[in-house]
């Protein structure tokens, strides 16, 4: 458990540090990319559905899988589209 907490603390720092100097122009893509990343809940959804044995949990689980997939797939694709506009421009 202390390890998980340590991981949490360290991850907070990494999250802070990594983002702290982003330029304004990247705010929206970064938000969208981060949004896609938290779609990793899909993993959780899969795991839980993969061991569901009654209908309720199965249904809930499948719903979670569906929603999480939308989050992941849509998130990455829409971020990529936004970032396309950086193409061709160089500093």
């Amino acid at each position: 458990m202390i390890e998980l907490l340590t991981i949490f603390v360290l991850a907070v720092f990494v999250g802070f540090e990594v983002v702290s100097k982003v330029s304004t122009i990247l705010h929206t893509p970064l938000m969208s990319g981060a949004n896609a990343i938290h779609g990793v809940i899909l993993v959780g959804a899969i795991l839980i559905t993969g061991q569901a044995d009654d209908t309720l949990t199965l249904v809930l689980g499948l719903l979670a899988v569906f929603l999480a997939t939308v989050n992941v797939v849509g998130g990455f694709v829409v971020t990529d589209r936004m970032l396309e506009m950086f193409k061709g421009h160089k500093r």
Binding site: M1, L4, F8, A11, V12, F13, V14, G15, V18, V19, V22, S23, T24, I25, L26, H27, T28, P29, L30, M31, S32, G33, A34, N35, A36, I37, H38, G39, V40, I41, L42, V43, A45, L47, T49, G50, A52, L58, G61, L62, L63, A64, V65, F66, L67, T69, V70, N71, V72, V73, G74, G75, F76, V77, V78, R81, M82, E84, F86, R91
Partner: protein, 452 residues
């Protein structure tokens, strides 16, 4: 330590790198791809470990993909924010569902597990309903103005208190029903949170909800004992929080305004003059506009002289030119307060004569100018002189900057210029106003452009 765990660790690494990449223009796109790769790895890995329902899960994934891709593909660039809000919402819902399911399924672990579950469900629901309302606002299905319920403040506090109580009861009683009720309370809280947020603040609200979802995912990671979820969720939670603060700063709004919007009785002063709205931007907005322009026209006026901003203007122009952006100066015959006022100043600042353009050089091609920087000029760019025969300055030739792609107006106030006539260009939707002394603004702009 199994290969599954190592794969998860690799995925977590990918996510860190993705966020790092997304923070620098040059690597942003690559970062996104790395993130997607990490995600694919994580999902495939998790799929290999499941016991049953493989096919159903596959179907759900395919269905989600089928729903997500076209939505993301076809959305117009202007509608991206609401799309992001929606994706965020479903993510939050998924997190809440996962925790709920795990809870229903039967729970062995102790308090920490229960706390994590409760947090996930609550935050997930808030994030979901908040995101949905945001989506509706941005999509203009409902009004974009702040919605102030009669007793919004009280209501908000009330629901928050109820949620807290419910959460405690869940922890104490372990009751499934209460957990579902908590989810409902969370939904209500999300709605109440977002309703009073006005147009310009919505993106900040989305970013905040995004961070919330990240936290929900991290909490669900505790529930499931999965380090990947913890790392990824925490990353998003932390970076999302910082990002929200940065966005609020960039827009010059105190974060508390948005955070506690629900608990405020007064409407935020964002939208005031309904018919003739002006858009006032931040230095960063303008910096980005400039940083990604191909051609810029600087139109100096008397305000440049008053601010003695000639050196700052030249510095900015040189910086832009060093990035391959073409910069010209539009010198109006009567800009300033004496003939040749601008010439004197710009010569002092060593602006090359070749860069000084006159009306006839500029106006024919002005439609292809990306950004016009109006630095302390006013009358000389007033479209009234061209379009309104009743105007006292009708007939004076002007720079047709309203035909350029974007206009940035640097002045200190909404006061008119020498001729004392109002300037409709200030209200043009193409125009961004940058209030303040021209020298100050240019100096800040210089610093901001360097960071783009």
């Amino acid at each position: 330590m199994t290969w599954v765990q190592l794969a998860y660790l690799a995925a977590a690494l990918c996510f860190i790198l993705a966020l790092k990449g997304l923070s620098t223009p040059r690597y942003a796109r690559l970062g996104n791809l790395v993130g997607a790769a990490g995600m694919a790895l994580a999902v495939v890995t998790s799929y290999t470990t499941i016991e049953r329902n493989g096919l159903l899960i596959l179907v759900a994934v395919v269905a989600g993909t089928a729903a997500g891709i076209p939505a993301a593909r076809q959305v117009k660039m202007t509608a991206v924010p609401q799309m992001v809000a929606l994706f965020n919402g479903v993510g939050g819902a998924a997190a809440a569902l996962v925790a709920l399911t795990e809870f229903l399924e039967g729970h062995d672990a102790g308090v920490l597990f229960a706390v994590a579950t409760v947090l996930t469900v609550l935050i997930g629901s808030v994030s979901f309903s908040g995101s949905v309302v945001t989506f509706l606002k941005l999509q203009e299905v409902m009004t974009t103005r702040p919605v102030l319920l009669p007793a919004g403040q009280l209501l908000g506090i009330g629901v928050a208190v109820v949620s807290a109580l419910l959460a405690i009861f869940v922890l104490v009683s372990d009751s499934n029903l209460l957990l579902v009720l908590l989810a409902l309370a969370g939904l209500a809280l999300g709605v109440l949170f977002v309703l009073p947020v006005g147009g310009a603040d919505v993106p900040i609200a989305i970013s905040l909800l995004n961070a919330f979802t990240g936290l929900a995912v991290a909490a669900s990671g505790y529930v499931l004992g999965n380090t990947l979820l913890i790392v990824a969720g925490t990353l998003v939670g932390a970076s999302g929080t910082i990002l929200t603060r940065l966005m609020a700063q960039a827009m010059g709004r105190p974060l508390t305004n948005i955070l506690f919007g629900a608990f405020k009785a007064t409407p935020p002063s964002a939208v005031t003059d309904e018919q003739r709205t002006v858009r006032s931007g931040t230095v960063e907005d303008v910096a980005i506009l400039l940083g990604y322009a191909h051609s810029v026209l600087v139109v100096p006026g008397y305000g440049l002289a008053v601010a003695q901003a000639q050196h700052a203007a030249r510095e900015l122009a040189q910086l832009l030119e060093s990035r391959g952006i073409s910069v010209d100066y539009g010198i109006h015959p009567v800009a300033g307060r004496m003939p040749g006022h601008m010439n004197v100043l710009l010569a002092e600042a060593d602006v090359p004569y070749e860069n000084l353009k006159e009306l006839d050089d500029v106006n024919p091609g002005i439609g292809s100018v990306d950004v016009v920087l109006v630095v302390g000029a006013n009358d000389v760019v007033n479209p009234g002189a061209r379009d309104e025969p009743s105007s006292p300055i009708y007939g004076m030739p002007i720079f047709d900057v309203d035909r350029a792609k974007a206009v940035v107006f640097m002045k200190r106030s909404m006061r008119p210029g020498f001729a004392g006539v109002d300037n409709s260009l200030l209200y043009n939707p193409k125009t961004t106003l940058l209030f303040g002394d021209a020298k100050d603004s240019l100096t800040k702009l210089l610093a901001a452009v360097k960071q783009v």
